[in-house]
Amino acid sequence: MIGFLFSVVAVLVLVGIALVGVGGLGLKVLFGVIIPYAAVLTFFAGLVYRVVDWGRSPVPFRIPTTCGQEKSLPWIKTNKVDNPCSGGMVLLRMAFEVLTFRSLFRNMKLDYRQGPTIRYSSEKFLWLFAMMFHWAFLVVIIRHARFFTEPIAQWLQGIEHLDGFLEFNLATFGIGLPTIQMSGLILLGGVTLLLVRRIVVPSVRYISLASDWFPLFLITFIALTGILARYVIRVDVVKIKELAMGLATFHPVVPDGISVWFYVHFFLVCVLFAYFPFSKLMHLGGVFLSPTRNLVNNSRAVLHVNPWSYPVKTHAYHEYEDDFREQMIEAGLPVEKTLEEAAAEKAPAAPAPAEADTEVTEEKED
């Protein structure tokens, strides 16, 4: 609850900072140039740092979570995607994971409604909302490239065209809005649904921390201010492009006449960029590194080496036989040394009994 309130307030404060900073104090260079550069720098430096930092920790064991039949006998059909038996199959598994959220798609819900028998029903809402949200986010980001490139690439226009197919329908009603881009609305819808889910599902509400609420609110507000700027205030796109091109070509300019709401939108995006590397949003990078997903399940076929393996103390067979030799002989079990041999060996060694005490097995690796 505290986390929830804190996050709402934090995002509102951020909005306020931008309003006051640009609207009140006129700090356009700060909000239009300095903060964006700082944010982008933080984003990339942070991203690289985090990924390298994870990468520094080795993967000592090959422990994929197998979700299907292993490759064993040739006549048994292997589930190549969920239990990958080669690097190519791992790529396939990861592609499904990243592009279609395959694991989330498995999600099921149990319920006790039918009395004592537990039932499991499919539960695809999280998957649906997450797919809406992430894909829309991707499209929105790609679409923003139009501000930073000149001339605008052909494929970008293609995406916009697809994204904006509603235009025709609305135009026939004679509504003179700019092209409606679905991605923005789906993004807003997706993030709202995720937010609602987090509030409504008791278990998810219970596990939520401030760091779960904050990005949701932040992104909601980014989407809201973006939509506001585009459809309601209708900010001056030509000037914004001038600003963006300036940033992209490292010749920053701050044109006059850009609405303060654009700066609010822009500032929130900067905050998201700067916050990204230090937050759970790093799951973007983490999912690719996850050892339970990105390893081949061939542990028995190909040796996997643990870089920090060290020798350990074991109880060797000869120690074991020393402990039980007499009983073993009585039971008719074969032994390496007869009682006499063992005694004979013991006798001269008696003055220095320490040698057999700590037995450390030799390691094969160096």
């Binding site: 979570t65 149990l110 996850s290 399940n297 074991t314």
Partner: protein, 530 residues
């Protein structure tokens, strides 16, 4: 996060005894009890924990990554059998992980150090250690949560590492520490000394002779055998595991396998795995060492879940590569096991499936006709290996009545028996029955709808714990290993009438031979018609 666990009979496990820790040289051996206020932690316990966490963050990418990337989406929340059975929110895998993640934030991350609770951070206190002990011994390391997590976050891995850390303080449970100490000294969890191991096997051989009419004389610690066979010691000790053990003996006799048992490597399971990676390595070392000493060509492993998690995913890395062994080839069929090319150890179900496929077994599946069988996938062999089809193929060839449980509860979705990872202690029965509820419920469905009366499995812990679980939730359902079903169906050379099955029960499938008295024949005929 603030509700403290309450240690009540039935929901916690007894503490490890000082003697057990001393045997294997684990830190802080002492006699204590989880219900005590003072757990007698070492003086600098905070430093030990901090350093333990720091070291493991450096050593395990899994740990480091899983500490950072959880988005708390809740997809894993209702996937844990302990959450389903207990309703305790901290049994949601995501919160189980948060128990240590919050310390990671509070002690290692700047935001967590400064903002504390707001950033999801906590400070390390003795209460936290008690909570860890309670909840990390309330996770069976089954990996079901990991299947559903969009990033593959494996709470089992977090539990493994958390247990490793509290072991640095001497906080283990008796049911794990004692088997570990036993296994270290005698080669098996039960502490069976070499002669006792052999004697136990001989009792079972006598039973086989009595019920099957075949005299088998296996070898122990024999140098020069082609294959070393290793299986969990639980199966030589108690019902119904012993029937599976008898099954192995009969199967190998039937095909004339040149193999040997070892009293030194007399344990397939590895409770070290539930203690620390190091202890896992120390106990596992025996298998390769013994294979080398005896000069066998390769190793065959019996039915066991966590044993196979270790063999499949860890053994070669821990103690390999075993260059002194050959790539496994089935001497009866000539099949080369390419999937075991490096580790050189083959699962009995892979081996048996290959035998059946090549028609090397004489089988009479009608011997299992009085059973309607279902199959429980062990967590470890399904989610840490992928052994799903082999056992089903075998069962379908040795039984006429097989049905699977609901798809949400088998294969990679399988539910744990509720007692894995060393939690199968008597004092823990209540929690085990709770944890086993989802599995039992799925059995109950097929028992009621399809008439299932036999729950088969390829795991020694399953065999040890399911009878109690079934008695409570699904009375009337028996438990067996897959190899027991194979043995029932095996037509052994020179066998007797097989009027009794391996359990010494009258074999309902037994049809008296026609030359016996007319009465009996008539009876059998009537029964058949009904």
């Amino acid at each position: 996060m603030d509700t403290k666990p309450e240690f009540k009979p039935g929901n916690y496990l007894y503490a490890a005894k000082a003697s057990a820790l001393e045997t294997v040289g684990l830190p802080n051996p002492r006699d204590w009890n989880p219900t005590d206020d003072d757990w007698k932690l070492p003086a600098d316990w905070k430093g030990v924990v901090r350093e333990g966490i720091a070291q493991r963050l450096e050593r395990f990418r899994t740990f480091k990554l899983f500490m950072d990337i959880c988005v708390r989406c809740g997809a894993c929340a209702d996937k844990c059998h302990f959450f389903i059975g207990s309703g305790d929110p901290k049994n949601m895998p995501v919160l189980r992980a948060e128990l240590i993640r919050s310390i990671y934030r509070g002690e290692f991350k700047t935001a967590g150090k400064i903002l504390g609770r707001l950033a999801g951070g906590r400070k390390l206190t003795e209460e936290v250690i008690k909570e860890w002990f309670y909840y990390f011994f309330q996770c069976t390391e089954c990996r079901r949560c990991s299947v559903f997590c969009p990033y593959g976050i494996d709470t089992a891995e977090i539990t493994i590492i958390a247990r490793e850390i509290i072991n640095l303080l001497g906080c283990n449970i008796d049911w794990i520490a004692s088997p570990v100490a036993n296994c270290f000294m005698t080669g098996n969890h039960l502490g069976l000394k070499p002669h006792t191991f052999k004697e136990n096997a001989e009792y079972l051989l006598d039973d086989i002779e009595e019920y099957v009419g075949v005299k088998i004389e296996p070898s122990f610690n024999r140098k020069g055998a082609e294959i070393l066979f290793v299986t969990p010691s639980g199966d030589i000790f108690a019902e119904p595991g012993i029937f599976t053990f008898m099954g192995y003996l009969m199967l190998f006799e039937h095909i004339g396998l040149d193999y040997t048992w070892s009293t030194y490597a007399s344990e397939g399971g590895n409770f070290g795995f539930f203690t620390s990676h190091e202890m896992m390595k120390r106990l596992n070392a025996k298998m390769y060492a013994e294979a080398e000493r005896l000069g066998v060509k390769w190793i065959l492993g019996g039915e066991c879940g966590h044993m196979w998690r270790v063999v499949h995913q860890y053994m070669n890395t821990l103690n390999g590569p075993p260059d002194f062994l050959d790539q496994p080839v089935n001497p009866i069929t000539g099949t080369r096991f390419d999937n075991a090319a490096s580790t050189k150890m083959v699962h009995i179900s892979e081996f048996t499936a290959d035998l059946i496929k090549n028609n090397k077994l004489k089988l009479d599946p009608s011997q299992n006709d009085h059973y309607t069988v279902t199959f429980h996938d062990s967590c470890n062999t399904s989610r840490g290996m992928g052994l799903l089809e082999e056992p089903r193929y075998i069962i379908n060839n040795v039984c006429n009545n097989f049905v699977d449980m609901a798809p949400q509860t088998i294969r990679e979705n399988t539910f744990c028996c509720g007692s894995g990872s060393g939690l199968n202690a008597g004092e823990y029965l209540e929690m085990r029955l709770r944890g086993g509820l989802p599995r039992a419920n799925a059995v109950k469905r097929v028992a009621e709808d399809k008439g299932v009366n036999m729950l088969s499995c390829v795991c020694a812990i399953d065999r040890a714990v399911f009878p109690a679980l079934m008695d409570y939730w699904v009375p009337g359902t028996d438990v067996c290993g897959v190899t027991e079903l194979v043995a029932n169906a095996l037509v052994m050379e020179g066998q007797g009438e097989r009027e009794y099955n391996l359990r010494g029960e009258e074999n309902p499938s037994y049809v008296p031979p026609p030359e016996s008295e007319g009465e009996a024949e008539g009876e059998a005929g009537e029964e058949g018609e009904e």
